[in-house]
């Protein structure tokens, strides 16, 4: 079972460049256990055709993933996942998560939710997404 281009969800009109969306989703697939080391990413051509985006954009995303040590280029075969991308100290990883949590909390306050309600929701989401 390898990953298919149709597993990627691209929003061209988002403020986030498409190559970043692809990088983020590859990393999410790895973290979520849907992509394991040794598996191949879809070819640039397959991705470009299926997602309807410029092939150079896909190449760029793959090149960045390669530079970040997430995948390696296998001659004549494509990009292979290297290892689960758990990089950096716990503090660094927490720092990465900080903005997402912050914006969720700000949104919660805007919706008039109490701290307890927000915390309960986070616990519920954690329960619904077991490791």
């Amino acid at each position: 079972m390898t990953v298919q281009p149709s597993q990627f969800e691209i929003h061209p009109s988002s403020g986030i460049p498409i190559y970043r969306q692809i990088i983020d989703q590859v990393q999410a697939l790895i973290v979520g256990g849907h992509l394991h080391d040794g598996q191949m990413l879809p070819s640039v051509r397959a991705m470009a055709t299926e997602l309807g985006v410029n092939p150079m954009t896909i190449s760029k995303a793959y090149a960045r993933l390669e530079a970040d040590g997430v995948v390696e280029r296998v001659r004549g075969k494509g990009m292979r996942i290297l290892r689960p991308a758990v990089d950096g100290s716990a503090a660094q990883r927490l720092k990465q998560l900080y903005p997402s949590v912050e914006s969720a909390i700000v949104r919660g306050r805007q919706l008039g939710l109490s701290d307890k309600q927000i915390l309960d929701l986070i616990r519920k989401v954690l329960r619904e997404n077991p490791l």
Binding site: S13, S14, G15, P17, T49, G52, V53, P55, T57
Partner: protein, 306 residues
């Protein structure tokens, strides 16, 4: 660096003394897919026509594959494909005849390829072109421009009249071509979502010049809307590098900058000690910011309440 495929240097074009293009510089490298954005009447079509030697510049020069656009050799012309806003078809010919007729002008016409595009894009070969709908005419115009596999394809609002599925088909044909042949494409459009899918570069035309030209990703990575919250009132003067426009309110300001980075954030903190919120913008929003922007950033009239 490769020789630019298409180039304008200090290009000026006036009609009846009215300047449309005012000293514009542009250089498109091989393999780039450039989306040209501009409001109505900003001169997109004029720029395209000057670049292709269909209009004579008032001043400055345009080059295609290194040759003066106004005086191109037939060999260079044969490397070009152009889709005008309104396809010029001969109404008494059928779709097939129109293709054969156009093909006769080219040495390397790929009739089989044209055939399969006609089929893919659901045109009937035996229909007279005079009876085609606007969208069908546009499809045929694109097919006629692709038939000789041009190294440079220039399209003026190619998808304006196409329905969403035809647009996707059109885009995927372009994507195929680019992947295999590494050709260069310049197209003007209002539909920013199409541009976001396939463009490698974006050119924003404003006031007769390019307000911005560069990689799309760089634009999206760098162009951000900032909300600045000041403890003791917004400053009346905000000179930031790459400022596109800003609106000043009492205690906050909404600011659009072209190239946001950590350095700018630090500078903001240092200078005004303000709280900064950063928002991503999609191409449509970015385009609106650029095209709505005055040369000199103006403040909104909120002074009344202060």
């Amino acid at each position: 660096m490769n020789l630019p495929v298409i180039q304008a240097e200090r290009l000026e074009k006036s009609f009846d003394g009215q300047a449309v293009l005012d000293g514009l510089d542009l250089a498109i490298a091989p393999g780039q897919i450039v989306g040209l954005l501009g409001t109505n009447g900003s001169g997109k079509t004029t720029l395209i026509k000057c670049l292709l030697g269909l209009l004579r510049p008032t001043a400055g020069v345009c080059r295609v594959f290194g040759e003066d656009a106004w005086d191109m050799s037939p060999a260079t012309k044969s490397r070009l494909g152009y889709v005008p806003q309104e396809a010029e078809l001969l109404p008494w010919m059928t779709v097939q005849q129109m293709c054969d007729y156009t093909g006769a002008f080219y040495k390397h016409w790929r009739a089989d390829d044209v055939q399969s595009l006609i089929c893919q894009w659901q045109l009937s070969p035996d229909q007279r072109t005079g009876a085609l709908s606007v969208g069908q005419r546009q499809k045929l115009g694109v097919i006629l421009a692709l038939g000789h596999h041009p190294d440079l394809l220039v399209l003026d609002e190619p998808v304006a009249s196409l329905d969403p599925s035809a647009r996707r088909q059109f885009l995927s044909t372009l994507i195929d071509r680019v992947e295999v042949e590494q050709n260069t494409i310049l197209f003007s459009t209002h539909i920013t979502s199409d541009l976001e899918r396939i463009a490698s570069h974006v050119a924003i035309l404003r006031a007769g010049k390019l307000a911005w030209f560069g990689p799309l990703d760089e634009l999206k990575d760098g162009c951000k809307r900032l909300r600045l919250y000041f403890a003791d009132g917004a400053p009346t003067d905000l000179d930031l590098p790459g400022l596109v426009r800003w609106d000043r309110h009492q205690n906050h300001a909404v600011v659009t900058v072209a190239s946001f980075d950590q350095g700018l954030l630090d500078a903001l903190h240092r200078r005004w000690n303000c709280d900064v919120r950063v928002e991503d913008m999609n191409l449509e929003e970015i385009f609106l910011e650029w095209s709505g922007a005055a040369e000199v950033p103006s403040t909104v009239a909120t002074e009344v309440g202060s």
